[in-house]
Assembly symmetry: C2
Homo-oligomer: 236 residues x 2
Amino acid sequence: MLKYQQIAAEIEKYIEQNAMQQGDKLPVLEALMAQFQVSKSTITKALELLEQKGVIFQLRGSGIFVRRLKRTGYISLLSNQGFKRDLEDFTITAEVLELDVRKPTEEAAHSLNIELAHDVYYVKRVRYINGQTLCLEESYYNKAIVTYLNKEIAADSIFRYIKEALGLKMGFSDVYLRVGMLNEEEAKHLGLEAGSPKLCAESIFHLTNGLPFDFSRVTYNYQQSQFFLQGNGDFS
Amino acid sequence: MLKYQQIAAEIEKYIEQNAMQQGDKLPVLEALMAQFQVSKSTITKALELLEQKGVIFQLRGSGIFVRRLKRTGYISLLSNQGFKRDLEDFTITAEVLELDVRKPTEEAAHSLNIELAHDVYYVKRVRYINGQTLCLEESYYNKAIVTYLNKEIAADSIFRYIKEALGLKMGFSDVYLRVGMLNEEEAKHLGLEAGSPKLCAESIFHLTNGLPFDFSRVTYNYQQSQFFLQGNGDFS
């Protein structure tokens, strides 16, 4: 973790511990520099990160303010493994149905910018929230980047492993959503009736250097799923 | 429009006109400064804006690269009025069903941080894409901020009016999503069967100073709706 990321985490903890609410003002830049004993550029980068994460907003000439969601218990649509953070009171588990090395589908190859002859790790798992099905997930990892995976890793957090064990840096993601009706197979895995509503999220995850390393399709159990998103900047 | 916003728009146009693809490298900072005849700080702010918008990604020590979605025809979930930009080949129209000044619901009052006795503009409209229903929208605007609205404005773009005529600056938004089944009234407005799948997006839009000015509930026609989202930074 880089210095500014560490400072960002500490400021976030400070907001939590002081139960600060949306609109509450944080100390000014100079006070934060003194408090954390770091340079202006480190604080500035930490604040930018927090702004991007939707934890604060900055108002030129007025200061730095806390940003807080009005509702709790929602899942972040933009974090893949972030269930634990967003749903702190819930227990998330995963059951790995399949894990093997294979050739990608056309869609996966296109999404990952690789040839059809290229190897991918394919992972299919069901994730549970407090023992109820949360989602069915199919992922294709470019094996040239994610060089090793096994069922033990997949039963826990693949993204944490990719970051901590493989040392890869996650950059940005594109997510495509559509709403539809569950087919027989999806319904079976989620324990619902075929024809029930579903939210399907297809995501392409990239490293900081722009290389796509994971294409995933997640089908959510609509009864368990409430999502939040935070937008920054002009939304018109 | 501020200088850096203008430069950002010009860089975006440059990417379009040169049909640049994801991973294509943009000129270095110094070259952009020379090309647009502006300071380093202006270019830096323009690039930050483009990074936030998902148009570029920056790789420390390597340069500035173009970011492009793999798929077209999707609607941005984080832009309220952005249908025109994201769906350039489509025609979006709106039919205003109701528009009046009233007291907010409890949910709207809570979302807008106002009292129940406070006035809001209530707007209910159906939006169409190429003549097909796209969504049913109900919005509550804090009348102390959005001081005037009428049906003519609501039939066009309320957000453009808010920005251009009222001069308000849009800051950030929180969006809550859930999937469910259409009730009778929603189904009637969308021309679908009751019980069909729906995506419901409830959003709170804030000014740059953090004041919430609009709470909206949008119910999408699942047959017409495909959405995209762009995430930045670490998504684990």
